[in-house]
Symmetry: C2
Subunit: 305 residues, 2 copies
């Protein structure tokens, strides 16, 4: 005894308000036949005739008119509430989750360019090592690495990065770094990747790739976060096997240099995943396209030699 069939009620509301079955059908994106059936269903549910044919069109019975008067308000209120919620959600800006290193060293710096291009947009950047559930955690975009892209409904591969040895200019001031061997004479900083990724190239592998035979490379310092390892390198603590994408700014500003550009490609790629609803939000689609464009540019710089 609670409510009549709501879909039928909605059809009746539209017919009563617009005064025409065809118009109601157009508003609800269905055929007139569907509306006609819903009206009949509602009438039979209430046991009361609400609408009657009148010549070419339809008109309300006295009961239909009275009933409509009572339900237009509530329906308008529901539409209003829906619109309010929709605008609220849209106004909340884009929520972007990415690996901490990517946030601080690749996406973060470039976001200033984005803001110049799209001053009206609002983006919240979240660093997270584990993959979030997009919708459930209120995340619109996720930028991450590896094969976990598969677990998302919508995603695109970005770029495949390479590592190169990099150091602060001060570290090798006065020294001549002409051959790979010279690098192994300097302090080396190691990075221990966590998680289930395919591990990135290590100093051992790099040595092998450039034809240097060292019994065992000693890395005096090792960091679990590549970001802090890079910071350490910037501070002149040694050479780091850095991802090219992650030292963009450092190379541009001269804080880091690459004396010998011998590259090793990472085993997997970065990817961008997004929630279905994200593209509907203001700047949602633009943001994705912008990231993809940045990624193509990065791919050119990161390509293996």
């Amino acid at each position: 005894m609670g409510l009549p069939p709501l879909k039928a009620l909605q059809a009746f509301e539209a017919v009563a308000r617009l005064g025409s079955v065809s118009d109601a059908a157009a508003e609800l994106f269905v055929t007139p036949g569907a509306i006609s059936q819903q009206i009949k269903k509602l009438e039979s549910s209430l046991g009361i005739r609400l609408v009657e044919r009148n010549g070419r069109g339809v008109e309300l019975t006295s009961w239909g008119a009275a009933y409509h008067l009572d339900i237009v308000g509530p329906f308008a209120a529901l539409r209003q509430a829906h619109a309010v919620l929709h605008r609220k959600r849209a106004g909340a800006g884009l929520v972007v989750s990415c690996l901490a290193t990517v946030a601080s060293r690749w996406l973060g710096p470039q976001l200033f360019d984005w803001q110049v291009l799209n001053p009206a947009s609002k983006i919240r950047l979240i660093g997270a090592e584990s993959e979030p559930r997009l919708f459930e955690d209120g995340v619109d975009f996720r930028l991450s690495y590896g094969s976990k892209s598969q677990s998302f409904d919508h995603y695109a591969p970005l770029f495949t990065d390479c590592v190169v040895p990099a150091c602060a200019p001060g570290l090798i001031a006065g020294k001549a770094i002409a051959a790979p061997e010279d690098i192994f004479a300097c302090p080396l900083i190691g990075i221990e990747w966590e998680g289930s990724h395919k591990p990135p190239p290590s100093w051992d592998e790099w040595a092998r790739s450039v034809g240097v035979s060292v019994g065992s490379v000693s890395t005096e310092l090792a960091f679990s976060l590549s970001s802090t390892a890079l910071d350490a390198a910037v501070n002149g603590r040694g050479f780091v096997l850095a991802q090219i994408a992650m030292i963009r700014e450092d190379l541009a500003s001269g804080r880091l240099i690459v004396p010998i550009d011998r590259r090793l490609q990472l085993g997997e790629s970065y990817f961008l995943a997004w929630d279905r609803a994200a593209l509907e939000k203001p700047f949602g689609a633009e943001f994705r396209d912008w990231v993809l464009a940045m990624s193509r540019a990065q791919q050119r710089k990161s390509a293996a030699l």
Copy 2:
């Protein structure tokens, strides 16, 4: 971009109001699983999380709480409108349509008894020769004659009537009416039935049935409505071949008499049809049962000898 799925919205409204999936399920007469799915559907349609699991139960997210605040009112208003309509319809009383003669001569007089038994009930009696569409014309019950009962969804046969010769006492005052022949010496009133029924027995047939051979029975007066024919008989204009059921009152009060009780059965029966919703209305089922009871009593009086 008008409204979210209304069934899902209804489920959410119930969950939010009752604070429990199970309670909402009970209110809407479905399983908790159905509610759970509807909530998920609404959330995915809005692109926003509205409800979260909290330990043993659920609770609203801040967005869910805000949204609920906006929709409880409209939903309550819809329920209110529904209840108002329901009460209006119920309060309108029972609408009974029947053949004009039945209205004025069988059901009408007995309705006073019904009113004594059910003083709180309200009945509107409508005389109509053609069969109404029950629901479409706002008719709850139809009492009529013949095979058209088939065209109704719900109906019950009532009684099969007989005709007898009747006249006003004054017509034969001082005369001795001992044999059927004596009746044919008096003025006869004929009835011409309209419509598609099997015609009722005529004076010719009655004469044959009682063994009177008359070349051709002359009916000086003929009426198309049996009701007016009976009135004419009451006014002493002649004999009428009257249906026993239709002269109940006249016999009881002595306005008409049956000097020779030789009966002829009608070819078809009376029936009562009703709308599905009629039995739900106040006194609806009681009225049907009362008519059926009256009909059984009538059957006993109308039985062929």
